[in-house]
Symmetry: C2
Subunit: 115 residues, 2 copies
């Protein structure tokens, strides 16, 4: 894999919607699995588990298990994960604040093509 | 589609690898199609055409055709496209500077699971 391919692969990972939303949800510190699932609208258990495992493998998130009864498991950003947070928060805020404008642009683009 | 779904859809679009790389390639002003294709390693003609059409539909890019011989066509960011540039450049720079670190993390993660 060339470095260019590696970076493109990295962008695929970093730009993935669920990756962005999980990193955004960990912005303010460690969060339990069930809290994460509740705070990310539309994510399935399977997708959350997969995304968290990928993030751990990439070194962006750590999983802390506490030997309590019942057992407590929390996920938190590493320094590497935190370094991605700026771009993630800007992208999520951008999507939120330009959502309506983009939807209107699409309606206009499609209408112009039907004429 | 709820607003949450809409924003997730927007993130899918904005976080897409080829979308990020095309927006990044338009950072310094209008660029011709062939130049774009040359500057984005690994992108096929079909993917570049598709990505440019999506970006035009979203209102992030405009296509300017000049009635010259031979005809000249350039693509440029709109104000909306430029507003996404910050997040895109940070994400591309992040992927480039952390590529090796993430690859090493993955090797370590996989090795720990084989033990």
């Amino acid at each position: 894999m060339t470095k260019g391919e590696g970076i493109r692969h990295m962008l695929d990972r970093a730009g993935d919607k669920w990756t962005l939303l999980v990193i955004g949800a960990l912005e303010h510190g460690p969060v339990r699995y069930t809290e994460l699932q509740r705070s990310i609208e539309g994510i399935s258990q399977r997708m959350l588990t997969h995304t968290l495992r990928q993030l751990q493998r990439d070194g962006l998130v750590v999983r802390d298990a506490y030997a309590e009864v019942p057992p407590r498991v929390e996920y938190a950003l590493t320094d590497l994960g935190t370094s991605l947070l700026d771009a993630v928060t800007v992208l999520i805020d951008w999507a939120g604040s330009h959502h309506d404008e983009i939807c209107a642009n699409r309606v206009g683009y499609d209408a112009a093509r039907e004429e």
